[in-house]
């Protein structure tokens, strides 16, 4: 109690000041015409201002869901394009009359974790078994390929990045239609190497497009991977040594698509026959 009294004596002036000033201002805006008009006019301006601001803020937050729905829609279109077997990197897209069977299913996903500086790089995405993600699904973006799903949990999945020492992606040169495999050995997140392109394939020029070949059951055929940076033939070797520039900068990834191959089981079954023999 004594403390309370002490407190009042110390800050009593301030309390009383605020109280009486409050009363005075109440009287000013209540009983004076001009001040009342100005006060309520300002008040309405102020509330209008805050309303606008809160509207802008809520709009900003709704953008997140908006973007999410757009990504979903986008994945549907992309799925359709891949199924239609159209090279959608070309400007002119032709649509066939006979609707093809659907081979690939696309789902958009958000990148939660990403590494690029190790020998073996991995990503974690925010989709899992609950979303129907399966092991060995491919992960791609609009501009290129990202990796392969290797582990799936309830809500997340682990992706082996193409920036991994053990990556082997069957790829092809668009102009030559020659197949090789894509490996990563320079530890440069923007470059990969294309191996096993036979020596007789000529010419290979800087800027040639490299696509996925579809020989593997992982990636859909015809996805752009990158462009040829340089190529030469090492002495005593039967194949080109080709470095390519990746189309997609994996270090800046935010959203990706997970591709589920619906025909994968069938394809693997057939491959099994080869292995059994």
């Amino acid at each position: 109690m004594r403390r309370l009294i002490q407190l009042f004596f110390r800050f009593g002036g301030l309390f009383l000041f605020l109280l009486l000033e409050g009363i005075a201002f109440f009287m000013v805006v209540q009983y004076n015409k001009e001040q009342k008009a100005i006060f309520f006019n300002s008040l309405s301006h102020l509330s209008q201002y805050f309303e606008d601001k809160s509207h802008a803020i809520s709009y900003h937050f709704s953008l997140e869901t908006e973007a999410d729905s757009l990504r979903k829609e986008n994945s549907k279109f992309k799925q359709l394009l891949i199924s239609l077997d159209i090279d959608y990197t070309d400007k002119e897209v032709s649509v066939f009359d006979d609707a093809p069977f659907q081979q690939y299913l696309l789902q958009s996903a958000k990148v939660i974790k990403n590494s690029i500086h190790k020998n073996h790089n991995y990503l974690i995405l925010d989709r899992g078994t609950e979303d129907g993600i399966e092991k060995h699904s491919a992960v791609i973006t609009d501009n290129g390929i990202v990796g392969i799903v290797i582990e799936v949990r309830k809500k997340h999945c682990l992706v082996m990045s193409i920036l991994h020492r053990q990556t082997r992606v069957s790829s092809a040169l668009k102009n030559q239609n020659a197949h090789g495999s894509l490996i990563w050995k320079d530890l440069n997140p923007l470059k990969m190497n294309l191996e096993n392109i036979p020596k007789h394939i000529q010419p290979i020029e800087r800027g040639d497009t490299v696509l996925t070949s579809g020989y593997s059951a992982m990636f859909p055929e015809g996805l752009v991977v990158g462009t040829v940076d340089s190529s030469w033939i090492e002495q005593g070797k039967g194949a080109h040594t080709i470095t390519i520039n990746l189309n997609e900068d994996i270090s800046t990834l935010k959203y990706v698509y997970i591709v589920t191959n619906l025909m994968r089981a069938e394809q693997l079954e057939l491959e099994q026959i080869i292995n059994d023999e």
């Binding site: 002036g13 000041f17 009363i23 005075a24 109440f26 009287m27 000013v28 209540q30 009983y31 004076n32």
Partner: protein, 174 residues
């Protein structure tokens, strides 16, 4: 001693309220050609309260003072808010102008006790604060800032003349 202080201040309160409400208000109003002219003298009641007066009491008395002046001016709250604010900053101004020897808590801050130089600085500062606050509340919008500043300047000069005359004429100890 104690009683005489209270009597002097009570007397001053009544005289200042009547002077402001009945005389000075009309001088300002009659000056039709020069609308910025105002004489605001009543705050010297707040200036001259004894140094030992508790802060809350100063603020409370200023509230009552402003309320009554507002009754004469028919502007509820305008003078009140200015008076309350002046009373609130009075200790700050006193602190700022504290002489090297300090204050005698039993005295009132008058010319006789602390010198004319000190009193002019002290009253000028408080009067400026009071007038600026008063005209701000009267206009009630930063749009009129030029108008507020002109009014404050003119009223400050006019009021200071009266404030100094008051001290010379009566030279009060309390």
């Amino acid at each position: 001693m104690m009683n005489s202080t209270i009597t002097v201040n009570a007397f001053r309160f009544v005289i200042l309220v009547l002077l402001q409400g009945l005389v000075l208000q009309n001088i300002g109003n009659d000056w039709a050609t020069f609308p910025y002219f105002n004489i605001i003298l009543y705050p010297i009641f707040i200036f001259l309260l004894p140094l030992r007066t508790p802060k809350p009491l100063v603020i409370f008395l200023a509230f009552i003072l402003g309320l009554i002046v507002d009754l004469f001016y028919a502007t509820p709250g305008v003078h009140t808010s200015a008076s309350v604010f002046t009373a609130f900053v009075r200790p700050v101004v006193l602190n700022y102008f504290e002489p090297r020897a300090g204050y005698n808590a039993n005295h009132s801050p008058t010319k006789k006790r602390l010198g004319s130089n000190w009193y002019i600085k002290y009253s000028l500062t408080l009067e400026l604060i009071h007038l600026f606050f008063y005209f701000s509340v009267e206009a009630f919008s930063p749009v009129f800032i030029v108008n507020i500043l002109i009014k404050t300047g003119v009223a400050l000069i006019a009021s200071m003349i009266f404030i100094i005359i008051h001290q010379i004429l009566f030279d009060p100890a309390e």
